[in-house]
């Protein structure tokens, strides 16, 4: 193969994400679409994973709550400069955010896991056992 594999994974992922972004204006979107933080939702087997970018936000200033199948992410992002600094360029924004997203399946709220590494927050939402489809055996 001329193309190495990791690049192809990357390209395919980027394309897959783009197709969602290209034509989503007519589709149903989660509550507070377009709100901070922007999120991507993935499916992993039966479970769901929400990944969102929160660079510069301390774990201690993030609050995550789960109720039924709604997840709320709230927090504050602060951008601090040292004293007596003169700004040449300012692109990073600071402020508060509060967002809720509803997942169309039932979630096992006790087993929700959240990880935050390098400014990326990942929420692992296991689908509740009662909600999983059952396969019917033919007799």
């Amino acid at each position: 193969m001329f193309l190495s594999d990791p690049f192809e994974t990357l390209f395919n992922l980027q394309q897959a994400l783009d197709t969602f972004r290209a034509s989503s204006w007519l589709e149903a979107s989660p509550s507070g679409g377009g709100a901070y933080p922007p999120m991507n939702v993935f499916r992993k087997g039966d479970d769901f994973v929400i990944i969102t970018e929160v660079p510069g936000i301390e774990k201690s200033s993030l609050e995550i709550q789960v109720k039924d199948n709604t997840i709320r992410i709230a927090g504050t992002k602060s951008v601090d400069y040292t004293e007596k600094a003169s700004l040449h360029r300012r692109e990073r924004l600071s402020g508060q955010f509060d967002r809720a997203i509803t997942i169309p399946v039932r979630i096992d709220a006790d087993k929700v896991k959240a990880e935050c590494h390098d400014g990326v927050l990942a929420l692992f939402l296991p689908r509740s056992e009662q909600d999983k489809p059952r396969s019917i055996k033919l007799t």
């Binding site: 994974t9 994400l17 922007p38 993935f42 992002k77 990073r92 508060q96 400014g119």
Partner: protein, 132 residues
């Protein structure tokens, strides 16, 4: 006083490269703050998802080039169902003036934020002129 305004989403800017890339993947321009103190210039870049080992900072011909690479193996086995932003590597370059001590550059990565501290050269430090 607490700042109470709402955070808004900043759409990622795709990098328009000067050199053509040989791979079809997208690169993004990280948001940056640049500020100056008495003895140093600081560049703060947001590169969420990039690990310490995947950051490269290069200085060549007065151009400071920062690149952060995402480890895409973490996304294996994940099937996208809804998306609001795209994922890609980050790249941005800054042209430095000769007022920077090019040997005194340090970098720190925390919570997806890369802080580059560029010490000013001795010649550029403010001098106080005593009046006789």
């Amino acid at each position: 006083m607490a700042r109470t305004h709402e955070l808004t989403v900043q759409e990622k800017k795709e990098l328009a490269p000067k050199e053509e890339k040989t791979v079809p993947a997208k690169y993004y321009v990280p948001n940056a703050d640049i500020y100056e103190t008495d003895d140093a210039l600081s560049i703060v870049l947001e590169i969420p998802g990039v690990e310490k080992k995947d950051v490269s900072v290069n200085l060549e011909n007065d151009v400071l080039r920062v690149e952060g690479r995402i480890d895409f193996s973490k996304y294996e086995g994940l099937e996208p169902v809804y998306s609001e932003y795209n994922i890609g590597h980050y790249a941005r370059a800054f042209t430095l003036s000769d007022k920077i001590d090019q040997d005194g550059i340090s970098a720190e990565l925390q919570n997806g934020v890369l802080t580059l501290t560029l010490k000013k050269s001795k010649a550029a430090l403010p001098k106080r002129i005593a009046i006789k």
